[in-house]
């Protein structure tokens, strides 16, 4: 178990004093009024000064989609690239200069459909990127087709009789692909979202946050049961390390494990107490429970977990790459072109 959960990032500098305003650009933000993206941008701008990283060391990379406009609104280095390729471009940025703090902003179509391959491989390599998924379960910029996270049966412009696609569970994709930090949050829960951003920033390795984000034009209310004051408590379980899975308006419901199966229990009948509940362990090396948690959304009546699903320590791709460069240089000596040109057999012509 980690004793020092929040590690100082390698690029942090104690002397940097910035405010949220420093991270805003002079560009008009062009998302639809009421879009969940505004909240995500606001939380990122609020959290960024707290990281102690100089502004010029941030790079925001995005692909294509509504959320991919994100870099234009961050007064850092930014790259609005092409559809799906943000993780690959961000990988190049990080490997070119590992001292940069590299962030990816991506939508569900961008990251999981056209860019799915880059996403899973970035996770697999555990390269030190922070990936924020803006999951609104719809294609917004192309005006309302179903996405790879849309629920089966969803009626959209391209599925007038209901979508026949099963959706991805992004958290499971990330965990299964080897991401070492996996969390979920809500656009309408600023405090929680900020906390997740801070945790992701402090993590050394690939950090993935799935943000449930409302598209008020094409998929309005998709997450309303999770964000509405009346229903939220009964539909959301907040994951906290070392604490039981407990939820409900009066904290009267909990989740217990029966073998590998989760069971909802009523804490008011006296049959079960808090002591019987599943205690969340973020640092469990075994990914099994993360999958079970992510699958709550497939189970009837189960609450949706938010929080850190998993955080483990593994060497990073960028760290290993530079370590290998150093190691080989130490072994062979700094390369000399003259010598390289003459590798193998040479002969002289007089």
């Amino acid at each position: 178990m980690l004793t020092n959960e929040v590690m100082k990032s390698a690029v942090a500098d104690e002397n940097v004093k910035l405010t949220a305003k420093d991270f805003a650009t002079n560009q008009d933000v062009r998302w639809c009024p009421g879009c969940g993206d505004y909240s995500i941008l606001a939380q990122v701008q609020r959290v960024s000064p707290e990281l102690g990283i100089p502004k010029e060391k941030f790079v925001w990379v995005s692909g294509i989609g509504c959320s991919s406009r994100f870099p234009y609104y961050m007064n850092t280095y930014g790259f609005h690239s092409i559809h799906g390729r943000a993780p690959a471009i961000a990988t190049g940025v990080k490997l070119a200069n590992p001292e940069l703090s590299v962030w990816v902003a991506a939508g569900d179509g961008d990251l999981l459909s056209i860019g799915g391959n880059h996403f899973i491989h970035a996770c697999r390599r555990n390269i030190d990127l922070k990936v924020i998924l803006f999951n609104n379960r719809i294609y917004g910029l192309t005006k309302g087709q179903y996405s790879p996270t849309s629920e089966k049966g969803k009626k959209t412009k391209s599925s007038p009789y209901g979508s026949i696609d099963f959706p991805f569970l992004p958290v499971n994709m990330a965990v299964a692909s080897g991401a070492t930090f996996v969390a979920r949050s809500l656009d309408r829960d600023p405090k929680h979202l900020q906390a997740m951003m801070l945790r992701a920033a402090a993590h050394h390795g690939l950090a993935f946050i799935e943000v449930y984000q409302n598209c008020n034009i094409f998929n309005d209310g998709a997450y309303e049961p999770l964000t509405d004051k009346e229903t939220k408590a009964d539909n959301v379980v907040v994951l906290e390390h070392g604490k039981p899975l407990i939820y409900g308006k009066n904290n009267d419901k909990g989740i217990r494990m029966d073998g590998m199966n989760p069971v909802i229990v009523d804490l008011t009948t006296g049959e079960y107490s808090v002591n019987d509940l599943w205690i969340h362990d973020e640092f469990d090396e075994n990914p099994g429970r993360s999958f079970v948690l992510a699958h709550f959304s497939d189970l009837k009546d189960f609450p949706t977990p938010i929080g850190v699903f998993r955080q483990i320590q593994k060497s990073t791709y960028d760290g290993d790459l530079f370590a290998q460069l150093d190691e080989v240089t130490k072994l062979k000596g700094k390369g000399k072109l003259e010598k390289l040109f003459r590798m193998g057999n040479t002969w002289e012509v007089a």
């Binding site: 941030f58 930014g78 790259f79 190049g92 070119a96 880059h118």
Partner: protein, 615 residues
């Protein structure tokens, strides 16, 4: 007892080794090449192997070949037709027989001509016995049996004995062509130093082969090809892919910034990735990406962050990278894209050579998307052109195509090792000044400034959306878009002022000019030289810069009555010349996955000149 052996002096010889793809023919051929290079001959090689790694033994489609042309004079091609064929089995004989010179020598492993192998090669009767090889000088060698005899007493399996017979054949060829065994013996020591049994087996097979030539009565003639009089200097043998890799390392050194390669393995480009992955002590970073798109995308990211970024691929991979090339055009970031061309379309002929991606490089993108195109002409020229591609990319803040091809990539020739100090500097000046910085401001080359993340005060955003002139904010202003489209075009055209003029070789006042590009160079060069010897008046220009064309292109081409454009495609350079200069050209196309033979070009030229023009 020494026998009487006649030594015949030859000017040049073409040898082809052929066998099963598991027979080690590529290794045998490259060993022969290295020894020949060290011996001082000029040489040029053509590996020709199937796409299947280990096709079923004995089959026609499993035949792997390695051709090498060596000479006491300067040569430019791997040779039109072999003088000597070493055939390890019936399939190898059948596949290669049609290519041989009349009266060529064929050395065959007679032990492999059993009924099973004959059937696999679709021979109805044994060609060694049915007189079908009359007209050739056939030398039957019991290769398998002799190798087994030489290795008797060693603790190795029959399978391993069989696997060393290529070294027996190599030793025999060393005797026949009067080459030393030492370079290969030294190589074996290095390769099998830790496996003494295999070392011993291969050494024994090699020397046994050599002394088989020396002692048996079969051979009565040895051949001597004297060292060539190459330009003074140090030389090594180099393949096109090796040369490309070294060119990039040199460019990184001269630019003073780290090299980053984002790449996905693909035939015949993979060796560049493999080579560069060795050079970690030069600060070279190689990223084997999850796919072709990630290969180029990571390189674009690395370029944004200030590395000298490259990506390597072949035609199908380039098709996948297309959208990202457009992004590099729009964001005006330096990037070199190497396309080691192969037979297409689609998967096409992965291991065969072709030069059919010129129009893909030129036009294969959405929108107006100009990209400079360079093409290497010989294996060693890959070094110069890789270096040059980097220079242009950095100076003009643009992606640059470097077109190579399978034939150059795998072929090798002597490379005159350059003096490191004689290589150009590649100045890199990352922008630093806050006050004067604008994302799309332009310098005298029309290049925008390279401002890399980590630089305080220059935080900015770039991307695939059209940007405003100078300020670089997203812009949908109609006039701005047209201005930027024209600006990107003008920038690439401006490179014309910075590249060498076309140089005419041969007879400058000839009626006929041969204009070629890329790997067709050698065959044209040799054809022209032969024709000049015969008294024909012909001239040659060779395009190493295809976009933009050299400044004097129109002036040069307009001087000639006939322009012959030999290409291994359906006329891609021809189309570009006609389109740009409204010139008539004569197309000469070959699309067989093979390089031109110089004789093919020679014959074509003679037919065009109507046999006239002879002194």
């Amino acid at each position: 007892m020494a026998k009487d052996v006649e030594v015949q002096v030859l000017e040049d010889v073409t040898v082809r080794f052929a066998g099963d793809s598991g027979d080690g023919m590529q290794l045998t051929g490259s060993q022969f090449s290295n020894t020949t290079a060290l011996f001082g001959n000029d040489l040029n090689t053509l590996p020709d192997y199937p796409a299947e790694i280990r096709a079923p033994a004995g089959t026609l489609y499993g035949v792997s070949g390695f051709q090498l042309h060596f000479s006491s004079l300067e040569i430019q091609t791997p040779g039109d037709s072999p003088d000597v064929l070493v055939a390890m089995n019936p399939a190898a004989l059948k596949v290669n027989l049609k290519d041989l010179k009349p009266g060529a020598t064929i050395v065959v492993n007679e032990n492999a001509f059993d009924s099973k192998n004959l059937k696999l090669a679709h021979y109805e009767s044994n060609p060694l016995e049915d007189n079908s090889l009359a007209g050739f000088n056939v030398i039957l060698v019991p290769l398998s049996k002799q190798t087994a005899a030489a290795l008797e007493g060693l603790q190795i399996s029959m399978k391993d004995v069989e696997r060393t017979k290529n070294f027996f054949a190599l030793g025999l060829m060393y005797w026949l062509f009067d080459r030393p065994l030492e370079p290969t013996l030294a190589w074996l020591e290095k390769k099998f130093g830790k496996k003494p049994v295999y070392l011993e087996a291969n050494k024994k097979a090699l020397t046994a082969g050599y002394y088989y030539g020396e002692n048996t009565e079969i051979f009565t003639t040895r051949y001597h090809v004297a060292p060539a009089k190459l330009e003074k200097g140090s030389y090594r043998s180099i393949s096109g892919n090796e040369a490309t890799a070294l060119g990039f390392v040199a460019a990184s050194y001269k630019a003073g910034i780290p090299l980053f390669l984002g790449s996905y393995p693909i035939t015949p480009a993979s060796e560049i990735l493999q080579e560069l992955s060795n050079y970690k002590n030069f600060g070279v970073k190689t990223f084997q990406a999850e796919d072709e798109i990630a290969g180029i995308a990571s390189a674009i990211g690395a370029s944004f962050a200030g590395n000298l970024a490259i990506t390597t691929t072949s035609g199908p991979g380039l098709a996948l990278k297309t959208e990202a090339v457009g992004l590099a055009v729009m964001t005006e970031l330096p990037l070199v894209i190497v396309d080691v061309q192969r037979g297409g379309p689609s998967t096409g002929l992965p291991t065969k050579t072709e030069q059919s991606d010129l129009l893909q490089a030129m036009f294969g993108r959405n929108g107006e998307s100009p990209v400079p195109i360079l093409a290497a002409s010989t294996p060693s020229d890959c070094f110069d052109m890789a270096f040059e591609a980097c220079r242009i990319a950095v100076k003009y803040m643009t992606p640059v195509f470097l077109l190579s091809e399978g034939y150059l990539a795998n072929g090798s020739e002597p490379w005159k090792i350059p003096d490191v100090d004689s290589l150009h500097e590649i100045p890199v000046n990352y922008w630093k000044d806050k006050e004067t910085y604008n994302i799309y401001a332009r310098d005298e080359n029309l290049s925008r400034p390279w401002a890399i993340p980590g630089t305080p005060g220059l935080e900015h955003r770039i991307g695939g959306l059209e940007k405003a002139h100078i300020y670089g904010t997203v812009s949908y202003v109609p006039e701005n878009h047209e201005f930027m489209v024209r600006m990107r075009d003008a920038k690439v055209k401006k490179i014309q002022d910075d590249i060498p003029d076309l140089e005419v070789t041969g007879d400058k006042d000839a009626d006929l000019l041969v204009a070629a590009w890329g790997g067709t160079y050698g065959a044209v060069r040799e054809a022209i030289a032969n024709l000049q010897k015969k008294g024909y008046k012909v001239a040659q220009v060779h395009f190493k810069y295809l976009n933009p064309f050299p400044k004097n292109t129109k002036e040069v081409l307009s001087k000639y009555k006939q322009i012959l454009v030999p290409e291994r495609n359906l006329g891609q350079l021809s189309k570009m010349l006609k389109m740009e200069f409204l010139l008539e050209v004569i197309e000469f196309n070959k699309i067989q996955g093979l390089p031109f033979k110089s004789s093919e070009i020679e014959t074509k030229i003679i037919s065009l000149l109507g046999g006239e023009n002879v002194d």
